[in-house]
Symmetry: C2
């Protein structure tokens, strides 16, 4: 294992020190393991909090800032944060209007956020939860009952975050986030496994000519192991996987994210996006907005995920709203 | 070799199709291989043009937009663009105020941009050139006489681009860019080699416990091959390499970029940046601005480069100026 680390035990602490040094716009509590905005949000604003295992950067800390999250709670690598982190975050950012937890559907995260919601309620904080479960690859998985939460998390955080910034109340923000999740589907393909610092070796073996189709963001098995094939064919596979679960009417407007899993060069992501765009065009779908890059990663896994959100006008308008975070920034 | 490609021969063409599909703010000419802003720049504005081999994305196409480049000319992977690309770009974006070529110091690029400058001059276009040669690792290299141009390219394009946007004339913009380069030093470490689509195998062999110290962005050899060691020690090595070439007075203000070479996860880049920041703090240097992420890559190479720019107030102000490109965006 060759990584820029000091010790497998200090990866998160050391990385948080770097986040703090890089981003004066964030306040990083390295002991409580909570990242918040350095600038206090508008009083009366509904606060958005997310979190999950580390190793998926820029998710979630990179999405803390105006128009998106108020706080992020990073767990150890591929390990859920503990409830204390979320309650600490809730107390730090609640201005009385309540907090929304954005939770990816993994057993540990769901349980810990649920506990945190109860603890926060005991403190008099109103909590609503948006559960993200957009990955169509498998119904249940290593760490999941039901579908896994992956790329749609970014869309939920962006769009619900924008509504919260504009003054939406707790019910409106959580309802919209839930609608965004319901309108989104994702599917990922891995060319290589990832290596956690603790394990020190790849999470699975993948022969030099094979890929994992439908992989999860922790390297959970997908639907099948197949021979590598041209990008245009892989794009067709990814689009078909999403489509078979959520066929769209001709003329449907979409937000499409082609996301790198960590070790795939941007030139390949653009190339694959071009093929995805061609496949969607054949089906009469309009890509109204898009993102190409590394947004929800899986450490050093080579691969890519496709997320398609069937967006209505409110979602598109809120997508375009100003956002000012380390990893997503426009209009500010 | 497992990559998201259709054929080694069509990588650039296919990737440009994806860039065009992803970024309505850009106009992509796939035949002439020129990327320009879709929106015409202000008449009378000095135009900035850069280019170089592909495989370093988002450099340069990802930096086309308000406040940065007017055009980018991508060559094949790790291959200089041809002079026709630069003259086509110059004719497309010159508004009479002249064009500045930002050229990384590699033999092919220098020669082809020089030829293009002569051809453009024949067409009545005033051309100035900024040569970037910031990599302190080696004096001459596989593809270079003198130092290699690497990370400082982004700083030159951002800062000189901002001055051009504000109305700086040809001499002022090119002088400033040259000053930024002179005030910048870079040094890179590779954990793995990269694989070009044409070669199909890694450019060099690196044992499982060794790293290439002082590597170039095409995998050119560095200063030494050494055992992997903790991030804090590698950060010290990188800072010392830059410092020994450009010692800074206490209190010096800097712009620091910790750049991933393509396959290194963001969590590791933040971790390494934290250690770099600590080493610079020990030396009394202020990190006034920073960037952590993948900005000038080397395909699927795992590794990182450090760029330190000793910035004056003008550079900091122009760094903060609005920029609206696919890969760098703030204040717009």
């Amino acid at each position: 294992m060759k990584k820029f680390i000091n010790s497998p035990d200090t990866v998160l602490t050391d990385a948080l020190a770097g986040v703090a040094a890089a981003h004066p716009s964030l306040t990083v509590d390295p002991v409580g393991r909570v990242i918040t905005r350095a600038a206090r949000a508008r009083p009366g604003k509904v606060a958005l909090i997310s979190g999950g295992g580390s190793g998926h950067e820029p998710l979630h800390g990179g999405f803390v800032g105006t128009g998106m999250l108020d706080a992020a709670c990073p767990g150890e690598v591929f390990t859920s944060p503990v409830p204390d982190q979320m309650t600490t975050a809730a107390k730090a950012v609640d201005s009385g209007a309540g907090v929304v937890f954005v939770v990816k559907n993994y057993t540990g995260d769901v349980m810990n956020f649920q506990l945190a919601a109860e603890l926060a309620a005991d403190e008099g904080i109103n909590v609503a939860t948006i559960l993200v479960d957009d990955d169509v690859a498998v119904q249940d998985s290593t760490w999941t009952a039901g579908r896994r939460g992956t790329g749609a998390t970014l869309l939920v955080e962006k769009i619900a975050g924008a509504l919260a910034e504009k003054g939406g109340d707790l019910a409106a923000v959580s309802d919209l986030g839930t609608r965004v999740n319901a309108a989104s589907r994702s599917f990922a393909v891995a060319l290589t496994a990832c290596t956690t610092p603790a394990a020190g070796k790849p999470g699975f073996d993948l022969p030099e000519d094979e890929i994992e189709v439908g992989v999860g963001i922790h390297g959970e098995p997908g639907r099948s192991r197949e021979k590598i094939r041209p990008a245009a064919e892989l794009a067709a596979t990814m689009v078909e996987a999403v489509w078979s679960d959520m066929p769209l009417p001709r003329g449907a407007e979409t937000i499409v994210m082609l996301n790198g899993l960590g070790a795939t060069p941007l030139i390949e992501l653009y190339l694959l996006f071009g093929d995805v765009a061609a496949r969607l065009a054949e089906r009469g779908v309009t890509i109204a907005r898009s993102l190409v890059g590394n947004y929800i990663t899986s450490l050093d896994m080579a691969g890519a995920s496709l997320t398609v959100c069937h967006a209505d006008q409110q979602m598109l308008d809120l997508w375009d709203s100003p956002v000012d975070t380390p990893a997503l920034r426009w209009g500010c």
